[in-house]
Symmetry: C2
Subunit: 219 residues, 2 copies
Amino acid sequence: MISQTEENYLKALYNLTYLKGEASVNEISKRLEIKMPTVNSMMKKLSEKGFVHYESYKPLKLTEEGKKEAALIIRKHRLTEMYLVEKMGFAWDEVHQIAEQIEHIHSPEFFTKMDQLLGYPTVDPHGSPIPDHNGVMRSESYIFLDTCKTGDAVTLMAVQPSSKELLQYLSAKDLELGTTLTILSIEPFDNSITVNYGNRISEVLSSKVTATLLVRPIS
Amino acid sequence: MISQTEENYLKALYNLTYLKGEASVNEISKRLEIKMPTVNSMMKKLSEKGFVHYESYKPLKLTEEGKKEAALIIRKHRLTEMYLVEKMGFAWDEVHQIAEQIEHIHSPEFFTKMDQLLGYPTVDPHGSPIPDHNGVMRSESYIFLDTCKTGDAVTLMAVQPSSKELLQYLSAKDLELGTTLTILSIEPFDNSITVNYGNRISEVLSSKVTATLLVRPIS
DNA sequence: CTAACAAGTTAGATTAAACTAACAAAATAT
DNA sequence: ATATTTTGTTAGTTTAATCTAACTTGTTAG
């Protein structure tokens, strides 16, 4: 059996690793607001249980089983958000806290019913994909930034493939998962693009960079 | 803050005391399948928190605050059961386990919305009353057995007022909370009634007894 | 290249919620 | 009325999940 607490760690790790394939103890610690030693011992425990690849001083990765478990929790979360908005009339910004709790309910029938009543949705109210009942996340809704056109507004969802250098570059530019970018222009010569986001105006991103950035168009 | 575990103890105590105003450590222990010493220390804790009147070797009672807390949990449980049946298409016998979990969700808005979507129901799918948002249980749906007529089928819901002797009498007759009785006849002379229930055929109950038994007619 | 800083780890303490074993009080039955 | 059984309590242990303090490893800036 897998506790609610363990589920929260798996989910955090899934979301962090989705961006770059691995994550650190420190990142989980910050995200969950739990001190590093606690995270450290939980990672060892989840490693014992076969959900995490843990080696001292190395970055953390989810095992295939860990990915599936996490995706199934995220499935429950997103189905719930969708249900709350579509069937109960909540606003999209009111549903997260409730879904954080309902995602831990143990009842396959309950979520199957939700899924059915919703007509088997593939994305949640924020446009994020809902993993299927095997924990497989359709990633088709994400596209690479270099396939977008001038005027598009998109949200940065993932970086693939990623390298330390690339992530440092993105950090230096204040580009984080969830950042919304507006494409001002595309240079035909080298396919570099000029974008606005946050406080940054007219930042230029090379095609080497834009070819790694997975984004979701804002509907 | 009140933990999920504490909520379960309060609910158990509420349900047990609803029948007779007080309950024992042993009864809670059996109902929750938790050993007596654990129950004992939890009762002391809940007493510290002001939810339970605890005195060594004395029966347990809920304080007014404890009653309110418990009733509000039961409200969430019953609203949920109603919602699952009415809005999601579950059968009445599939909803208990799910409601046991959802009753612990912390989100007033969630339950307010349910209540609203259901049109402010006053009873759950099993006919049990739903306490209002102040934790007040309408008991109008329960009537005394001596006000019923021949042929009625009713469920025993509570005993009021109760005494040790009465409860022992009821136990000896296998009459428990939840027992369904069918009224065969009523003796005009002394108002004693003859009933069937469980394996018991033609048991006679005096008016002194029937005037204390709160029952719910089976719709 | 090394000093300083950041990140990761180990050890040990704390709290909540469970348990068993042993003892005390109350209820019951002979 | 006393012995037996049931119920309640106390004391001490366990496990999960957190923490702080102290130490180690790895990274980064002069």
